[in-house]
Amino acid sequence: MSDSATATRKPQVEGLSFGGFLKYLFAGIYFGIVLVKAEVISWFRIQEMFHFMSFHMYGIIGLAVVVGAISIQLLKMAKAKSVEGVEINPIGKPFNKIGNPVGGLIFGFGWALTGACPGPLYANLGAGYWPILIGILSAILGVLTYGYLKPRLPH
């Protein structure tokens, strides 16, 4: 239990238990293995995709969405509960008529330049491609910049 570990900004929120830590760690390990074995962290695959030269990436993302969408429908129909006993009821993010398209475009620019989106940034580090640390630090700098500019940006 990590109750004393961090300074409490919002003390009413419970920290992650050891079991909680383990289950998300294992989910992340699964995600990391799939990202690498799917080759979606590969700069080669990203450039190939954006030049419409291969179906590989489109097939992966497309099938991932199909499986995700069917899973959500099945979980809702079954009124399934999470292992914590909470009814599963995922809600989509709100629509931002400027943030979604403009932020999306900027993200796309960066995705093509680095050949990596956020999951693959972490996965490349795990895969031993150390220069990606430059990309990760730069991404953090980008998020910092966004955080400070946010009040002045149209969303």
Binding site: A27, G28, A69, F109
Partner: protein
């Protein structure tokens, strides 16, 4: 059997495996699949930042997401060390020709050594790719409110309109830069 695991996995296997992240996180804790907000949590947790975007971030409530990111790093290490993860993608001949015109050798590992490994990474084209590209990924993902995981996979799975708009932006921006800017950067 083991060769099937260490060999290349076809897209029609890895696509569904990736999609399973959606029900896995819902069943584990009613969490929406996503990874890019961890970049925000890192700032909020370890940097003395005063912007409201970070002070309002509840790091404790989002700790699960940071643990997920840690798991991704561990999982990628396992994939490379034990599951034959660091293999050359079988890109199309057309793509190989394209990379040759960019002075990037045909794949021998998962990533091009010219950009993703020392000493190749100490070059103008690699630094621009990583520094400028990384910055745009970070800025863009937070401006858009999500990344390929949160918008393209989770958001589209929820048939969410904003996620569709963001995903169209991801691909439009990626196609533009990959076709018109990456060739210039690779020529440096």
């Amino acid at each position: 059997m083991w060769e099937a695991i260490t060999g290349p996995w076809p897209w029609w296997v890895t696509g569904p495996l990736l999609g399973l992240m959606v029900p896995i996180l819902l069943l584990l804790g009613n969490k929406n699949f996503g990874i890019s907000s961890t970049l925000r949590h890192v700032c909020a947790a370890v940097l003395p930042v005063k912007a409201e975007y970070f002070t309002s971030d509840n790091v404790r409530a989002n700790m699960w997401n940071l643990v997920l990111a840690l798991g991704v790093i561990v999982g990628a290490t396992i994939a490379v060390l034990f599951l034959g993860g660091d293999r050359a993608p079988e890109v199309t001949p057309a793509a190989q020709e394209l990379f040759a015109t960019w002075n990037i050798a045909a794949p021998v590992r998962l990533q091009p050594s010219e950009i993703y490994l020392w000493p190749g990474a100490v070059s103008l084209r690699s630094l621009i790719s990583l520094v400028v590209g990384g910055f745009l990924v970070g800025f863009g993902t937070r401006y858009a409110g999500g990344c390929t995981s949160g918008h393209a996979i989770m958001g589209l799975s929820l048939l969410n309109f904003g996620s569709l708009v963001a995903t169209v932006g991801f691909f439009a921006g990626g196609v533009l830069v990959s076709q018109f800017i990456v060739p210039l950067v690779m020529a440096l």
